[in-house]
């Protein structure tokens, strides 16, 4: 087996590397389309009103 050739430190890194990749995949699948926040924010609107927004800020 691959991990048996590593010592504890490297073996841990090997497992954590795989586990973190798996975490990313699972998270991505679960939250693929879960967010219900605003879908589109028109940045071009911001561009047009940039001077006013800057003044407000």
């Amino acid at each position: 087996m691959v991990w048996e050739t590593f010592d504890v430190g490297v073996g841990l890194a090997f497992w954590l590397m795989n586990a973190s990749a798996l975490l990313c995949v699972i998270y991505g699948i679960i939250y693929w389309n879960k967010d219900k926040e605003e879908k589109v924010i028109e940045r071009k609107t911001w561009d047009k009103n940039e001077a006013k927004i800057n003044k407000d800020l």
Binding site: M1, V2, T5, F6, D7, V8, G9, V10, A13, F14, L16, M17, N18, S20, A21, L23, C24, V25, Y27, G28, I29, Y31, W32, N33, K34, D35, E37, E38, K39, V40, I41, R43, K44, W46, D47, E50, A51, I53, N54, L57
Partner: protein, 540 residues
Amino acid sequence: MNLIENIVIILYLAVLAYLGFVGYKQTKSSADYLIAGGNTHPFVMALSYGATFISTAAIVGFGGVAAWLGNSLLWLTFCNIFIGVFIAFVFLGNPTRKMGIRLNAHTFPELLGRRFNSKFIQVFGGVLITIFMPLYTSAVLIGGTEFLVAYFKVDYHLALLVMSVIVTGYVLAGGLKGVMLTDALQGVIMFVAMIILMVMVFNAIGGVDVGLSKLEMVWDKTVAPLSTVPIKELVVGSPDFLMKLSMNWGFQGWNKMPVFLSEGWLFIITTIAMGVGVGVLAQPQLVVRFMTVKSKNELNRAVLIGGIFIIAMTGIIYLVGSVTNVWYYEFNEGKNALQSTGGVGKVIPHFINAAMPRWFSFIFLFALISAAMSTLSSQFHAMGTAIGRDVFEQLAGKHNPNSLLITRVGIVVMIVISVTLAYFFDKQPAIIARSTAIFFALCASIFLPTYFGGLFWKRMTKKGAIASMFVGTIITTFWLVFVHFQEAKELGLCKMLFGVNSLLSGKNYLCGCNDGCFTSFAFNCSGCFAHDKARESSIN
């Protein structure tokens, strides 16, 4: 080169030119040029982030370091995925995106500057990027050029020039839209090439288990005998010198961690894993990508794509890098990788050209050119916008009609500086990995506390942010110039002023612990300062 290779290269360049043109056609406002209009597809965004993140520095530079120091580099892959993708996208991505939109920020320094209502922070951030990013850019240029030299057997300077000219073209024309589209294409090429590489390498050495288990035998045959040789008898910078150095640092084999708290252990954990792994969170050219998507869903989807992409890139190349020792031992007269190739940065290019069939070398050529160009284009874009948007526009007045022109001129100037550095740095040992680690550590020290504070801590003040950036800049620079042995020795200022190469010469423990501590230190300083201000105002 045969006819088919010529045709494929021309096709590749034509597709890049086309994507640059698409970016150019779709670029109608400064938001389009600076943040790709804010409506990027998650697949493009994730691959662009990954391809920018993973450069030739990771493949050629750190792949070569894996051949030298072994699989302990897998800690970096873990940090790359867990911190660089999961933490970055899940916890930082959406707050950054929302804050960027609310503040109408187009660059990373602008995000920080507007968050703290400080023109100074934006200008200071822009200046720091302009000063320090060429170091990393030159490392990426060297990595890509080394492979062109190995493949085409051409002059290093010619290869350097050709690559720089091509990247300049589509960055100038297409802005971030062009950059991200080409990044995505290049990410796909890198991914496919890396999967084929893994299959072919482990097939050539008898499988994953066999290849990795043979590493111990190769270490015993080629490195262990050096334990009786004094390092002073070895030629400085030679392969045996480097291997002996690794033993002196506490490395015990390619499948083992260095001795706990030895210089090698600290190098792997603080400089490589933490320095590069954490430093990625505050990379200006990566943070700006969070502002290019329209909703959190795109970021969630990018987590999946990014996780797979990064493990396929760094996980594979570090494992392959270390097992090149087995291949060279078996097929090159009992020598390990460094002994066969002569240098850390030469291992991967030499291995691909010597061990793999010609057709794969050709595919890998594109993967490496893609890795180099995707990172370079983003770096040049970040440096150009730092000059045009963050420095010039802030100092010359907003909506200056010349700011986009200045950005483009800035890109050209920074390319010239980066190419010049790549010209001079090429002969330095392990310069690619070192420059990358230094730049990532600088970003972590200078930008990360302010960035985190800006996102998550309402009580962080403008003065706290400025103090944090100053502390990070001064201490990291001081450490590099006067303390961290290799950099201090190369720069020579410490020797000139104090007569020694490093103020901590001989104290390996402290010399090795070089980068990660600055981040926490800067955090503490900014935190204390901001807290103090808040407490003071509450008392009043």
